[in-house]
């Protein structure tokens, strides 16, 4: 029987925990205030009053590191409220922006560092509606990445009176927000009644996981993510899908890329380009590839400035041999 660790206390976590049990797995629910959740009599569901710190290992043989001890499991589902460590603690997540009826007074829409195109369009449409209601709207942007439909939105928002600022720095003092405009260097003080921001950084994975890496997927193989505040029926289907994927037997493991530390110049290229965040710098400042995350695509082997990374089975010599053989073959 496979064990799935589920992090979170909300209805999402409990729904997916039940689903895991229903589909024949064993669920370990990590939840700080386990009020009202009884352990299942047949021991198939256990509740631990602690929270998830880290995950190790590859699908099928993972370890969920929690505040009080490790839990061996075959996969992990993260179902707690998305860690919306917002820029300002009291910001309102973009998703829950009130439709049209913003507060009277001033709203700051902080779109720096994300959201993705969809989120940006949603924010601008809300801004236009709020402006129509007489709310004053200030939009903070990194750069105006707009083309086609979005461009119209930006112009509409501007014509409706939104003030766009590309801030160099934003400081907060109590109710006052000082924004230094990057063009003129002037400091603009705003007293917002609401600050709306979206911390969903431009993830290649859509909310429902990456289209190529499978639904509910995250960067970490074997770790799935269930979105928060879903509607009733949406939650049921997502929970069912999450449990099914979590309980599926793990695919065979690709052989990860290997780093020759003697050749590594610590130039960080591999760390930057790895789509799976598998490359990182170890304590002695040399690159290392995390075997659990590496999907063996070989990008780092090609890009490494010092040719320090080799992908077993696809090294330069392997490729040469295959090329020569293929050319002489057919």
């Amino acid at each position: 029987m496979r064990t799935v660790v589920i992090a979170g206390c909300g209805t999402e976590a409990r729904t997916v925990a039940d689903e895991v049990v229903r589909q024949g797995g064993r669920a370990v629910l990590l939840c700080k205030e386990p009020s009202g959740i009884a352990d299942r009599p047949n021991g198939r569901m256990e509740v631990k009053a602690s929270s998830l710190i880290a995950v190790r290992g590859a699908p099928g043989r993972m370890t969920a590191v929690t505040e009080d001890g490790d839990v061996e499991c075959s996969s992990v589902i993260v179902a707690d409220e998305p860690a919306s460590v917002a820029l300002m603690p009291w910001t309102t997540p973009l998703r829950s922006l009130p439709e049209g009826r913003g507060p009277r007074g001033t709203v700051v829409l902080d779109l720096r560092g994300g959201p993705d195109r969809r989120g940006r369009a949603h924010a601008l449409e809300a801004a236009i509606e709020m402006l129509a209601d007489g709310t004053k709207v200030v939009v903070l942007v990194d750069e105006v990445l707009a083309y086609g439909h979005d461009e119209l939105l930006y112009r509409q928002a501007q014509q409706a009176g939104a003030l766009f600022i590309r801030p160099l720095a934003v400081e907060r003092e109590g109710q006052r927000m000082d924004v230094m405009d990057s063009i003129s260097g002037a400091i603009i003080s705003i007293f917002p009644d609401m600050v709306v921001s979206e911390t969903a950084v431009n993830q290649p994975c859509t909310d429902r996981g990456s289209v190529s890496m499978g639904p509910l997927s995250t960067y970490r193989r074997g770790v799935l993510r269930l979105r928060a505040n879903l509607l009733e029926d949406e939650l049921r289907t997502e929970a069912r899908a999450a449990a099914a994927i979590a309980l599926r037997p793990p695919a065979e493991m690709p052989r990860p890329a290997m780093v020759d530390e003697g050749k590594c110049s610590a130039c960080l290229t591999c760390v930057r380009i790895c789509p799976f965040r598998a490359a990182y710098m170890n304590a002695d400042g040399k690159a290392r590839i995390d075997g659990d995350r590496c999907m063996a695509c070989g990008k780092c082997a090609a890009a490494c400035a010092g040719k320090a990374i080799a992908l077993p089975g696809s090294t330069d010599t392997d490729l040469d041999a295959r090329i020569v053989a293929a050319m002489e073959g057919e």
């Binding site: 789509p275 082997a301 090609a302 330069d316």
Partner: protein, 133 residues
């Protein structure tokens, strides 16, 4: 001896199987599988030409749904680099090309292979020192 080498990523290989199922015969092009098109760097392309290939085709997945999400961008940059190098040493950059297919677009792949075969025919072999025909 095959005139064209096709370095094809494992996902796009499906398109090749589909072509074979539709009994399309692929002539005088050698197919080499790589884990992802992003694995192909400029040196590999140049070495392939030096092994006697007259043209090299790199096949990657469609831009948005590469199984490894950004492999084909790396491949594009490396193919462009190889083309620049060929130009600088006086050889025709059109000997190297990249194409993106989904595993369903077998016709697009076959056409690309035929195009490269034509180019190989036109450009002829690179006058090679060892075993130059």
């Amino acid at each position: 001896m095959n005139k064209v080498v096709t370095l094809i990523c494992s996902a796009a290989l499906g398109a090749l199987e589909l072509a074979k199922e539709n009994d399309i015969v692929i002539t005088d092009t050698a197919v080499v599988e790589v884990p992802c098109s992003g694995r192909v760097d400029e040196a590999t392309i140049l070495r392939t030409l030096r092994q006697g290939a007259q043209a090299v085709l790199v096949v990657g997945c469609l831009a948005s749904n590469c199984r490894f999400s950004t492999g084909n961008f790396e491949a594009h940059r490396n193919v462009d680099e190889a083309k620049r190098i060929l130009e600088e040493i006086g050889l025709s950059p059109s000997r190297v090309e990249m194409v993106e297919v989904s595993s369903a677009q077998y016709m697009k792949l076959v056409e690309a292979m035929e195009m490269m075969a034509d180019r190989a025919g036109e450009l002829g072999p690179i006058r090679l020192l060892e075993g130059d025909p």
